[in-house]
């Protein structure tokens, strides 16, 4: 039997009962469609989280006081509140090769008053390097300068969220805000960055680091040092060099600080999202399985229904293998076409999800290929048994069957 013959036999038998073929296919359509949609939504979520983390600064190493070690929980007084990072550490780190910029920071929450409005937010003492390290953009005005720094100036830069919270639609530039009973002049406003969380700069007020330490908080330690590394490949080396330099400087054997690489955070989050995607895909696969069983059910019914036809085909010279092949190809075509329609459906779902703006979905080529392969395999697996039954029918019994 030639391939074209099998194809035309398959077409004529499937098209002779269109409603049933269509309903059987629906199971596969929904299965494949949901697998593709789930995987794409997962991929989209991953990409958006990746880009927002990378948006926080490129090749970022973050040094925080205190230690986080697996199995020991948070040692000493916990990260952030420990007081082990000093201004002197920054000068040591500056000598390490491969560093583009270093941004020492000291943050604390304060109540901020501007005219009649007030808000409680994080105030960060920062230097001019903050802009480069954290990839932020100024909407209006300028950031903290070295001059502000040296003169322990009373200048403040507002994050986008804080600016709207305090000043709504009016232009805050040049206005005065009060932080902890000290007046600051607003010299700049940042462009909104989105992707809140992880010390997002939208909801922050920046003041010179010297002012923060000497006037606002009154202590000389740092709550964080952010380092921007020249090259992604040098991240590990710089991390090691920085660790050693700081151990020396602090005269300790066991680190009293932690260095978190951006890649570590990214890696952890990626793992979490991958697991979640896998979970969703596994649920969607169940509907695919149910669809496959539906195909088997229909094929078994068809074999019984067409017993007489099978007998006739055998009587006029069809071998068991010819019959087997014919029924198997019907099952495979059903799942294959179902898979195709499913891919289109999944893709449409992704378009709709993207258009709602929740997640920018990404339909990956590999998930489409996978779905296609899976649907064909399902056809073979669930079509095999009914086809074998058809092929093994005795022609005499089949002809007698009423």
């Amino acid at each position: 039997m030639k391939l074209t013959d099998i194809a035309s036999e398959t077409y004529s038998s499937l098209s002779s009962n269109k409603v049933r073929s269509g309903l059987t296919m629906l199971g596969i359509v929904i299965g494949i469609g949901s697998v593709i949609a789930m995987v794409s939504i997962g991929n989209g979520a991953k990409a958006s989280i990746q880009s927002s983390i990378e948006g926080l600064g490129s090749n970022l190493l973050t040094i925080i006081p205190g230690v986080v070690q697996p199995g020991r929980g948070i040692v000493s007084s916990g990260r952030g509140s420990a007081q082990t990072l000093k201004n002197a550490d920054v000068n040591i780190l500056k000598m390490i090769e491969g560093i583009t910029a270093i941004s020492p920071e000291n943050s604390r929450r304060f109540q901020i008053v501007a005219g009649g409005n007030n808000t409680n937010t994080t105030v960060t003492g920062a230097t001019a390097d903050y802009v480069d390290v954290h990839n932020i953009n100024i909407a209006n005005g300028s950031f903290i300068t070295d001059t502000n720094q040296r003169s322990i100036g009373r200048q403040a830069v507002l994050g986008a969220t804080v600016a709207t919270d305090l000043f709504a639609d009016t232009d805050p530039l040049g206005k005065i805000i009060r932080i902890n009973k000290v007046n600051f002049t607003i010299v700049g406003i940042l462009i909104a960055k989105g992707g809140a969380g992880f010390s997002g700069p939208d909801d922050m007020v920046f003041v010179p680091l010297s002012t923060m330490q000497k006037i606002l908080s009154g202590d000389d330690y740092l709550s964080m040092i952010a380092i921007s590394v020249t090259d992604k490949n040098k991240m590990a080396i710089v991390k090691d060099l920085a660790t050693n330099a700081l151990l020396d400087q602090h005269h300790v054997i066991e680190a009293d600080f932690s260095i978190i690489s951006q890649e570590d955070i990214l890696g952890t989050l990626t793992t979490v999202i991958d697991t979640f995607t896998l979970f969703l895909a596994a649920i969607a696969s169940i509907s695919l399985l149910v669809g496959g069983i539906g195909i088997m059910n229909m094929m078994l019914t068809t074999v019984t229904e067409r017993t007489k036809e099978i007998g006739l085909r055998k009587a006029i010279g069809a071998k068991g293998s010819d019959i087997n092949l014919q029924f198997l190809s019907e099952a495979v075509v059903l799942t294959f076409v179902g898979g195709l329609v499913g891919i289109v459906l999944g893709w449409l779902i992704c378009l709709i999800v993207t258009s709602t703006g929740i997640v920018r979905t990404q339909v990956s080529f590999s998930s489409v290929i996978l779905a296609f392969g899976v649907s064909a395999i399902i056809g073979i697996i669930f079509g095999y048994y009914p086809a074998r039954r058809a092929g093994m029918l005795n022609p005499i019994d089949a002809l007698r069957y009423e």
Binding site: S12, S16, L312, G317, K319
Partner: protein
């Protein structure tokens, strides 16, 4: 040529053995038109299944064109059916919702005949079976009983078999269309020289053949020539 030598077919139900055919022997020459007659349960269907290579005898030999068919495997039997035998059934057994032409080309699909040649052969067979050309593209359920049986005959003819086996071909037809169908067989036999074995329980139908084999209780009880009733006008 068909040679049947001492064919026995035994069915076993539990411990009870039952001989559907016992020790049957006969020869059918090429170009003969033979009727096998017998009451129901006489074993004539079993004989037809063996002659049609649908089943194998328990013992004895069956030579079709000097090839021993009685010991072949299922796939080899399928090849014999494909190349040497054409079936016409009482219940016609056309594929539903399928055109007349496609029904007739079906045996050629399994025989590996392709493209234009396949269609030509099918049309030739349909014309030989006496079906009007304007019915070729009708669906098999849109034509009359007599026409359906002609399509079935064309399907049996299409691979140019050594033997056409007709199992009660007039059983589902009224006497007038039945006569037309028998006339078609006679014409195929006389004009085209096809060997035909007709299984029937009607004396009237059997008289149209050259020769009648009478089966009773699994045994061949009579083998006689007929006066061969001719159907003059087809």
């Amino acid at each position: 040529m068909i040679e049947v030598k001492n064919i026995t077919k035994t069915y076993k139900t539990g411990d009870v053995e039952f001989n559907a055919l016992s020790n049957i022997s006969f020869i059918v020459n090429d170009g003969e038109f033979v009727a096998i007659m017998g009451p129901s349960g006489s074993g004539k269907s079993t004989l037809m299944h063996i002659l049609g290579a649908l089943d194998s005898p328990t013992s004895g030999t069956y030579l079709l064109d000097s090839k021993d068919v009685s010991t072949l495997s299922d796939d080899e039997l399928a090849n014999i059916r494909r190349d040497k035998i054409g079936f016409v059934f009482q219940a016609f057994n056309l594929l539903p919702r399928t055109t007349v032409l496609r029904n007739v080309t079906l045996p050629l699909i399994y025989a590996g005949v392709h493209g234009k040649e396949r269609e030509e052969q099918a049309k030739k067979a349909l014309i030989s079976a006496g079906l009007d050309e304007n019915h070729f593209h009708h669906m098999s359920n849109q034509i009359s009983g007599g026409q359906i049986q002609r399509v079935a005959i064309a399907r049996a003819l299409v691979n140019n078999p050594s033997l056409i086996l007709a199992d009660e071909p007039t059983g589902n037809l009224d006497s007038k269309t039945g006569e037309i169908v028998i006339g078609t067989f006679q014409r195929l036999n006389i004009e085209l020289g096809h060997t035909i074995i007709l299984i029937t329980h009607e004396q009237e139908v059997a008289e149209h053949a050259d020769r009648i084999l009478f089966i009773k209780d699994g045994k061949l009880v009579e083998d006689r020539r007929t006066h061969k009733k001719r159907i003059i006008k087809i």
